[in-house]
């Protein structure tokens, strides 16, 4: 069939609306059936376009915009998504900042433990197991202790935490080279509950040596001038 041979070209020409190519145009001039088919295809596409145009470009109901405005008034303000999202972001930021702040504080404490002295009240020091500990924990021995010179000097171990937890006395974390001196100080403190080298203990001896004697003034002798002659 001659039409089947040109069918696709005819449909394409009708769909695009452009003029058929010269070969097809020559065929259309000589073939009545193809010319009629091409005209029908053009009519079909024209009716599709017209139908779409009618369908899409219908008159807009006059009630549309007033009804939309009325519903807008009922609906009120648009949803402020930036407020809710802002709150969420702010809360998330606070959580993140708090987390990193707590982490940095903890790291600082752990990093400073070997070099500085800190006083703790019942809570054992937390250190990573791999870290070499050069500080020791000293706790003054209570009055009910059997040994008067007993003091706890333990290195970082599991026993440290257990013993420290049992002992409610204040603890001092000291450098290793000051261990003996400060242990003696702690022992003396636990015995007398006072510092051994306070100024008030030395007042009697030191201040006595420094005492200044009162000024000595001889009595004045008064004689008459005539008698002297």
């Amino acid at each position: 069939m001659p039409f089947e041979h040109h069918k696709d070209a005819l449909i394409e020409a009708a769909a695009t609306g452009v003029e058929p190519e010269s070969e097809l145009r020559a065929h259309l001039e000589s073939c009545d059936s193809c010319r009629a088919a091409f005209a029908e295809e053009q009519a079909l596409f024209a009716s599709i376009d017209a139908g779409l145009h009618v369908k899409v470009n219908a008159d807009v109901p006059v009630s549309l915009l007033p009804r939309v405005r009325a519903r807008l008034d009922e609906a009120g303000a648009p949803r402020n998504s930036w407020i809710t999202s802002g709150f969420v972001l702010a809360a998330a930021a606070v959580v993140v900042v708090a987390f990193f702040a707590a982490r940095s504080v903890r790291r600082t404490n752990v990093g400073n433990e070997p070099g500085e002295t800190s006083v703790k009240t019942g809570i054992p020091p937390v250190t990573p197991p791999s870290q070499k500990q050069t500080a020791v924990v000293i706790s003054p021995v209570g009055k009910n202790s059997n040994s008067p010179r007993q003091f706890n000097s333990v290195k970082n171990s599991a026993a440290t935490e257990a013993s420290v937890r049992r002992n409610n006395e204040p603890e001092v974390l000291v450098p290793r080279d000051q261990e003996v001196l400060l242990a003696a100080y702690a022992e003396q403190w636990s015995r007398h509950k006072r510092a051994p080298l306070l100024a008030q203990d030395s007042d009697a001896t030191i201040l006595a040596q420094l005492r200044i004697a009162p000024i000595q003034i001889d009595e004045l002798g008064v004689k008459l001038l005539a008698e002297e002659k």
């Binding site: 029908e40 139908g51 807009v60 109901p61 549309l64 939309v68 519903r71 648009p78």
Partner: protein
């Protein structure tokens, strides 16, 4: 420990007034676009749906939704394309739900309750073609359908459609071509054309 007291009486009033001013600005800005783009939303919905009442409902819903999320739209110049997509999507949803309800109605309704057929012969023929066109449109892929409807709207160039849909002008042209071709294939059997050849 120092006691902290937060007093915000003046700040609250100031905040409310600022909020009201922002709200009024948004409403004013939206109103300016409403007059221009409201008909567009209706026409897009009408292109998808078969009756004007559904199209009006969908257009209202699309405009309300656009207002509700207006502050999320960073580039306000994109409002038209944004609204077109909202209206198109809502119209498709409405069409699907209507189809489901039509199936239920067909199963349960009595024949005497159906609307009477049109009397005028030419009107019947026109309505028949339009019905077939509607059905053929519904069977088109969504991306082809949207571009074809926008192309059928008055006063929209290929460049404007490309901007609204977010594709190139070449893609717009090819989609229009394939959409019309598919429609013609579906409608050919309903017209006195080359179906018998």
């Amino acid at each position: 420990m120092q006691e902290m007291v937060l007093i915000q009486a003046g700040g609250m009033a100031r905040g409310e007034s600022v909020g009201e001013a922002v709200e009024a600005d948004v409403r004013r800005e939206f109103e300016a676009r409403l007059a221009e783009c409201g008909p567009l939303a209706y026409r897009v919905a009408r292109g998808v749906l078969r009756n004007t009442a559904d199209a009006e409902d969908v257009a209202q819903e699309a405009l309300l939704r656009a207002y509700r999320y207006f502050d999320r739209l960073r580039d306000r110049n994109r409002f038209r394309s944004w609204l077109v997509r909202i209206a198109f999507r809502l119209a498709l949803d409405r069409l699907r739900s209507r189809k489901r309800s039509e199936v239920r109605d067909t199963l349960w309704s009595q024949p005497e309750h159906r609307p009477p057929a049109a009397t005028a012969e030419d009107l019947a023929a026109s309505n028949e073609f339009q019905t077939h066109l509607d059905r053929a449109l519904e069977e088109l892929p969504e991306k082809l359908r949207l571009v074809l409807l926008l192309a059928a709207l008055e006063g929209h160039t290929i460049e404007e459609i490309a901007g609204m849909v977010g594709i190139s002008t070449g893609t717009v042209k090819s989609r229009i071509f394939y959409a019309r071709k598919q429609l013609a294939e579906k409608l050919r059997c309903h017209s006195n054309t080359i179906k018998t050849r």
